[in-house]
Symmetry: C2
Subunit: 504 residues, 2 copies
């Protein structure tokens, strides 16, 4: 990992400053199901929570908390009256702010707001020059910088790729250090083991100070349940570590319908909702008012091989419906992303990512992890894919503002200047509005075929390759208090010394 | 043009039989604007029709009809009270059937139904082997056959590419003959000149018989207005030729916002609506009850070059809103498609096509011209693109059915068979449902990277190339009465003899 030591000198406007730090949505939602259909799903959710129950495994402390709250325990199976679960969930905020160390980059999660973060968790990376390979700390650092630099990514995520060249038990320290120093966007922390979650919270406390942290969410963890109906100690410990300190937690059941849930989209949605609501209730037992994001990750399956598929009609439908259910529950939602099973940045990747992300938008997902860079069902982070997806996010951001039908948008005066069969190019209305009328993406080529051929007949991924290389060449780190930076470096060094290397 | 003479022998099930001849939609619509916002747009539409007016040019017969109906004429500018225009439009059917010569392929246009047709009007074609070139009759015939064979294309369209090797004034005859003999799906007819529209109607009469034609829509024309605010004689003559015979007409204003309409999506939508409603009213003056499809084709513009852009947030928004306005007007809608400005079948093409088509679906477009094969802003038909888009149409068809939340979909019995942390692979519910649970596309590769590499590491367009080649190898023409075929051939031969070649 290359560390820079010159990043403490003051600079002018941050180079990666986004047009806005998150999307404040004006667009309405796509309400796919009607009241009666939603009630049927909610009845199923309630049945799963109070009659079927969810197992909280290998964590006696979690079971004690449930017991104290009046839940019924059968071994590690927890059942609770649905109205009690929902009453607990009601103490979670419907929206909250995650502070960034640069206050201009703080994000609001929940309500009418949408926040885009990159892919999370891929062990492999791929780019046009280097091909497919294991992720390492160099790639990770590049991805953190690209996420910092891209105006349409609001949030850094965390495991933009797995840096496999650093021991498993230590890599989170380097990763946190890079997020905190190479970027000033908000980000997530580690969850794989309780001490790593604690390190994340401790480093955030160094960065923000204990007082700020007492009153604000400055870091969040993101965990998956072990569907079906199982919450293991990784989840409960992460909830305890983050929420006890007043920090946020995202819990996302990952359900491949037919395997971790019934081979039915409706049933899988209800199951995901039940698992996530139980985790939300647990987070509120740990600390009432703790910021909680209701996550959802549903995938369909190839009938040819049983492999997970993405961007298909079933998960698209599930995005829309989970959006409705989350709004009814009054909880911020994480779902969707730019998902694909394709191995490369081809048309398949783009078709699947676009259908997945379009539905994510109309569902109003508040925190969109995996919004850029995802390949191979999440096994691989594509450098070109990251930049291509992020370019499209700018369009979704415009879409998210909705349609203006005010007087200026109706342009009546322009019709006084144009005869039938004429054109509006030179009208006063066009002059006043053309600069903001249309989203013009960087990576879409709309020129004629002759111009495109003269420019080398490049496809989108070749253009994306040139783009991210150039972005990195022009990277300058955001300004930072050198004392904070030293304190963080010292923490990382000390914690690494305390542990032997572990590679599993 | 290769003609087959063996296609009269009876065959078993037609090889290209679609799972259903059109989509019967269960999915709700995305209602983007609220009542007040829609009223604002409708007020603008009314203002354009009654105060600004639409010019009907170079066609005195059209002006006479307007005058007789009580419109106010100012030169060729036609103005009419909006409630009178809307009263005329109310005589057009909200849905109608277009018969196919194979009754199993007849389509219902309007209401809850959606019909997918391929690209229309491209002078160029492109495929991986032959590259980009002018369209010719051989390519046209191949495209007609592929459209016939593909289960997710319901309708043949018409100018799947321009066959530039046949004189302009004669090519429609060969094209109609190929649509009528190589396929038994419904299709459109010519509109570029009144006599060609008449040839189309005459050939349809040969194919279906005068009696059937008297009582049914068996062919339609598709025309563009000359936006802004101009309807030329190509449009009015096509309306007269098709509608006077009780046949259908699609009228689609093509508006590049900023050029043929104000640089505002809202204003362009209202203008398109006003132009199309005036054409609808005209069609109903020609023949009350004539099948009319309200068309819409809005595009945004690149700020870099002024070139039209596709799949961008502005036309996506316009699809949603025009869907609402068309439903309120009670008219079948044509809008959207799988549109892109990309020159090739790359990620750009797919991102743009998917966003365009996703919004087309949620808008409930009833007749989707350009649903497959579109490249280069419509200048080029891609063979691989056709097959790739059509593969995605199968997914949209599944999406269009909506989400089942019935008892079987809730799968309660499956939870009696599975413990927390277990799996649903072998449950009775999975056994009963897995075969129909998920849309499994032909061209998306969802296997792991090793399998994909062993298979040659092909991208989607390479797979699409192999697919369409194989489809054509296995093509067998649908059965046909040899006498009809001879009669059509004789008509074509006679009409060609009556005209000198014309190349413009």
């Amino acid at each position: 990992m290359a560390r820079r030591s010159r990043n403490s000198r003051p600079r002018s406007a941050p180079s990666g400053a986004p047009p806005s730090p998150y999307l404040q949505r004006g667009l309405s939602y796509f309400d796919l199901l009607d009241e009666e259909q939603l009630s049927r799903l909610e009845t199923q959710v309630d049945w799963l929570m109070q009659d079927v129950g969810i197992a909280f495994r290998d964590d006696p402390e979690a079971l004690q908390l449930w017991q104290a709250a009046g839940a019924t325990l059968d071994g590690d199976r927890v059942r609770m009256a649905a109205d009690e679960v929902r009453a607990l969930c009601a103490t979670a905020p419907s929206q909250f702010t995650q502070l960034a160390r640069n206050p201009q980059r703080s994000v609001v999660i929940g309500g009418q707001n949408q926040v885009f973060a990159p892919i999370y968790g891929a062990p492999f990376v791929r780019d046009l020059e280097g091909g497919r390979r294991y992720g390492d700390m160099q790639a990770f650092e590049q991805l953190v910088k690209l996420t910092y630099l891209h105006p349409h990514l609001h949030h850094g995520g965390f495991v933009t790729c797995e840096p496999c060249d650093v021991p498993v038990n230590k890599r989170h320290l380097d990763m946190l250090f890079l997020h905190m120093t190479c970027s000033d966007k908000p980000h997530l922390g580690a969850i794989t083991e309780m001490s790593r979650a604690q390190d994340s919270v401790d480093m955030a406390e160094i960065l923000f100070g204990a007082e700020v942290m007492d009153k604000n969410c400055v870091i969040m963890g993101n965990v998956n349940t072990n569907s079906p109906l199982l919450v293991d100690k990784v989840v409960t410990q992460a909830i305890r570590t983050y929420c006890a300190r007043g920090q946020g937690i995202v819990v996302a059941p990952f359900i491949l319908s037919g395997a971790m849930g019934p081979v039915s989209t409706a049933a899988s949605i209800a199951q995901a909702m039940a698992e996530a609501l139980m985790c939300c209730a647990y987070s509120q037992l740990v600390r009432p008012g703790a910021p909680f994001v209701l996550g959802n990750f549903l995938s369909s399956m190839s009938l040819k091989s049983g492999a997970p598929t993405f961007g298909m009609p079933e998960p698209v439908l599930s995005n829309y419906v989970i959006g409705q259910l989350a709004r009814r529950a009054g909880l911020p939602l994480r779902c969707g992303g730019s998902l694909t099973a394709s191995k490369i940045e081809d048309a398949q990747a783009a078709y699947e990512s676009a259908d997945s992300m379009h539905s994510t938008m109309l569902a109003g997902a508040n925190f969109v992890l995996h919004s850029a860079g995802w390949l191979e069902g999440g096994l691989c982070t594509g450098f070109e894919k990251l930049i291509m997806d992020a370019d499209r996010l700018g369009g979704y951001q415009k879409l998210g503002h909705g349609l203006d039908v005010g007087d200026e948008a109706l342009a009546r005066d322009a019709y006084g200047e144009v005869e039938p069969g004429g054109h509006f190019l030179g009208t006063g209305h066009t002059m006043r509005n053309y600069q903001t009328a249309f989203y013009t993406p960087d990576l879409s080529d709309s020129e004629n075929v002759e111009s495109w051929e003269e420019g080398g007949a490049q496809d989108m991924r070749q253009r994306a390759h040139a783009r991210w290389k150039k972005m990195l060449q022009n990277y300058e780190p955001p300004q930072m208090d050198p004392a904070k930076r030293e304190e963080l470096a010292a923490f990382v060094a000390r914690r690494k010394q305390e542990m032997p290397d572990a590679w599993y």
